[in-house]
């Protein structure tokens, strides 16, 4: 009975119903928009930085991260890689062998990080081939090196010149080799630009006397938000001989930055919710005032106040649900649009992003969680606000109400 009454009331005054639910629609829309933008920027930054430096997850020989020497490398068994790639969140597994050595030209020398890579696979995650400013990318079977711009300048090397690498290899064998420079890479970060040399994996393993040995398997994941769980799964799979680390351990500064940013965004959301609440409250308040006469009549002819309140609350539930539903529905194409055509950033920021090899845009996240969580929050706000007409009805004086 009450349900029917509430439903009919809604359609008695369509305009009012539409306006009230429209306020919920807009509220849902804005909350989703803002959250999607905020998460989009952060997750994209996370992906950018992670793919730039470390990859989402790395697998090492147990103890490697604390003591990064070439003696802590491992021979990757065939089935280890298969096990990793079999996980649903893992897209690709990229091998690396990293070690420090002295790099030199005729006049100068500098300690550098020598990263031996599988060129084809590496290219797919770090897009390192796109950062080449002179020369070409290395191939799998090349006996040649890629060096960073800062190192090239310091050693006064150009493409075609020879770089000498001297260091210590696996279990103390001496590692010495000379390679023609095939390409020069420019990283935006001055730190990275200073001293990195890339070699093809096989060549690097030969140089350091570490045939088939790797210092890390770098895993690229499908959804970076789940990488922590994925890392935990893989740690189980890999066994005690290995350590599997999520990017938040590999790059604590980034994790710290992103968590801080999330915390600071909480205030933005509070302010938006406040504004939204007020918008919805405005319409609910007007509705209550407008129907004072009607409520007065109903109470006068004997309707229990409690019943009347439940009718009004039910109406509000209907209206809010409709609004939330429509709002979510409308937000999907809107966010999908911005996801496909992200907002372009301008000015200095555009330059900075481009220098780092990031797309100069603000992304929108289409994480499903955003849609339902924001809809839920707005729904709760709307329902809490419908306490107001309840209170008003409770204090209603029928005679006075009808006098208006």
């Amino acid at each position: 009975m009450i349900l029917k009454l509430a439903w009919r009331n809604l359609w008695r005054n369509r305009k009012r119903t539409v306006i009230t639910s429209a306020s919920v629609v807009f509220a849902v829309l804005l909350a989703i928009f803002l959250n999607s933008l905020k998460e989009g920027i952060l997750v994209k930054m996370q992906e950018n930085v992670v793919s730039f430096y470390s990859g989402a997850i790395q697998l090492h020989q147990d103890g490697y991260w604390d003591d990064q020497t070439i003696n802590n490398t491992f021979e990757a068994a065939e089935n280890l890689v298969d096990k990793m790639i079999a996980h649903e969140n893992v897209i690709s597994v990229v091998p690396r062998l990293e070690s420090f050595a002295l790099t030199a030209s005729t006049d100068n020398s500098r300690g550098s990080l020598i990263i031996s890579i599988d060129p084809e696979k590496e290219r797919l995650i770090t897009k390192i081939d796109q950062k080449i400013v002179v020369g070409d990318f290395i191939q799998k079977d090349d006996q040649a090196a890629l060096i960073t711009l800062g190192l090239a300048n310091y050693l006064a090397l150009d493409v075609g010149d020879t770089i000498v690498i001297i260091g210590q290899g696996y279990h103390g064998v001496s590692a010495a080799g000379k390679y023609p420079v095939k390409g020069i890479i420019d990283f935006a970060s001055p730190q990275l630009n200073k001293s990195i040399v890339y070699l093809p994996l096989k060549e690097g393993q030969w140089l350091f006397g570490a045939t088939d040995r790797l210092s890390a398997l770098v895993l690229q994941v499908d959804n970076i938000n789940d990488s922590e769980e994925t890392a935990a799964d893989l740690e189980q799979l890999a066994g005690a001989k290995y350590e599997v680390m999520n990017w938040s351990i590999l790059l604590p500064e980034l994790d710290q930055f992103i968590e801080g940013e999330r915390a600071e965004n909480v205030i933005f959301l509070f302010v938006l919710y406040l504004l939204i609440s007020f918008g919805i409250f405005g319409t609910i308040l007007m509705m209550t005032m407008e129907r004072k006469f009607e409520f007065g009549v109903l109470v006068a002819i004997g309707m229990k106040k409690l019943k009347l309140s439940s009718v009004v609350v039910l109406e509000n539930i209907f209206v809010s649900l409709m609004g939330a539903f429509v709002g979510t529905l409308v937000s999907i194409p809107l966010i999908a649009y911005f996801n496909a055509y992200p907002i372009k950033v301008t000015g200095e920021l555009k330059e900075a992003y481009e220098n780092y090899g990031f797309d100069p845009v603000f992304y929108f996240s289409i994480e499903p969680k955003i849609f339902y969580s924001q809809t839920l929050v707005v729904l709760i706000i709307a329902l809490v606000l419908s306490i107001y007409p309840m209170l008003k009805i409770n204090r209603l004086d029928a005679v006075e109400a009808m006098r208006d």
Partner: protein, 405 residues
């Protein structure tokens, strides 16, 4: 006449007007608060980075940043230092002797950046002493003492008063070594630096390097941040043989972050204004619908459409004008209060902060001109959003309107 009517209309239904006035005031508050919050946040981050790490500007030998060879010193360091300290725009400055080398404990050896400082001046510049968690900070009389980061100490497996050996190449490219004792251990916001930077007396390092007492780096803090660019140009002219870089060049990541916040704030302001205008449109629409009978009556007795439109618009404008001072006062009060006592985020978002214990206090701040700008934006938004409800009122048919309850 119309104005008087509109003014009286506002006070006829105080609750309805109250809602519109309050939502405009709230919109104003939200806009200015968010701006103040973002400015406060950026300021805090910049301050953290500049006042404890990078400083406003750093001077180096032109080849030093590229090469890090200890022979690239700033010639006439003490002279330069002195004239910089006397410059009216400079708040404080300190010179550093820098060497990249190895630090060796009995169990491990790790690459490190050895920083030779003048303890007193360095503390004025980067407040290093505040970051000491164990032991003590260096003082002028110390010989062969070092202060190292917690992270590095863990890697080397050493404690307070442990003995370590620093090895590096001197200016003649010969390997030199010196024994040092750990006097203090510090913790930094920046864990990368915590694992790398080792502080010691500048004199001790210079002696080992064997090349006078010139600095490799002079870092300065300005009295006012806005003098940055002018001073950089000026110094570049005076010291044409040195490279002078501001924090923007020294830390491109930092300026990227600031710019990101800046641009996302603009989008946020737009969202706030849209939220505000929907609030106003909805409330005013309800108000117009509620007054259907009254408006129908006015039309029936001959009020023309232009006047009716004018009346409703004027009502909105008046309400907005009433709201503006309240909103501004509220914003000003909130911002000033929080600007003084700070907004503690750790109580709102414990998870993120508990993990890392970095600074969670934010002090919002807003310059006067931004209040004016926000007010302008909010007023325009409010007035624009009153147009649609007013048009709805015009579309009413007097006869059916009067008939309606």
């Amino acid at each position: 006449m119309l104005a008087v009517l509109a003014w009286k209309n506002i006070w006829r239904n105080k609750v309805r007007s109250g809602i519109v006035i309050a939502s405009v005031a709230l919109g104003l508050w939200a806009g200015s608060f968010i701006m103040a919050y973002v400015f406060g946040m950026m300021d805090q981050r910049l301050k953290d980075a500049i006042e404890t790490e990078i400083s406003h500007m750093q001077l180096h030998h032109p080849d030093y940043q590229e090469d890090n060879d200890p022979k690239f010193t700033i010639s006439n360091s003490s002279q330069t230092m002195k004239s910089l300290a006397d410059h009216p725009s400079v708040h404080t400055g300190a010179g550093r002797v820098l060497v990249l080398g190895m630090i060796n404990s009995p169990t491990a050896s790790v690459g490190a950046k050895l920083i030779g400082i003048d303890p007193e001046k360095e503390n004025q510049l980067t407040k290093l002493e505040d970051f000491i968690t164990e032991g003590e900070y260096l003082n002028a009389g110390d010989r062969n003492k070092i202060v190292i980061g917690e992270k590095l100490a863990k890697k080397l497996k050493i404690k307070l008063r442990s003995k370590v050996v620093l090895t590096f190449q001197d200016t003649n490219k010969d390997i030199v070594a010196g024994a040092f004792r750990v006097k203090g251990i510090y913790k930094s916001h920046n864990s990368a630096l915590e694992g790398l930077n080792v502080y010691t007396q500048g004199k001790d390092l210079s002696k080992l390097l064997g090349d006078g007492s010139d600095y490799h780096e002079i870092a300065i803090l300005l009295k006012e941040a806005k003098q940055l660019e002018d001073l950089q140009k000026e110094l570049q002219l005076t010291y044409s043989d040195l490279t002078i870089e501001s924090w923007k060049e020294l830390s491109p990541e930092l300026s990227m972050m600031i710019e990101t916040m800046d641009q996302s704030m603009i989008i946020f302001l737009i969202v706030i204004l849209v939220a505000l205008s929907f609030g106003i449109i909805n409330t005013m629409l309800m108000a117009v619908l509620e007054r259907v009978r009254e408006i129908g009556m006015l039309m029936a007795i001959g009020m023309n459409q232009i006047r009716l439109f004018g009346m409703i618009s004027l009502e909105t404008i008046f309400m907005v004008m009433i709201a503006a001072p309240f909103g501004l006062l509220l914003s000003y009060a909130t911002i000033e209060y929080l600007g003084k006592y700070g907004l503690d985020l750790s109580s709102i978002y414990a998870e993120g902060y508990a993990q890392y214990g970095f600074k969670s206090m934010i002090y919002p701040e807003l310059a006067f001109e931004y209040y004016i700008r926000i007010m302008g934006l909010v007023l325009v938004t409010a007035i624009l959003s009153s147009i649609y409800p007013a048009i709805t009122a015009l579309r009413l048919n007097p006869v059916t309107a009067i008939r309606k309850i």
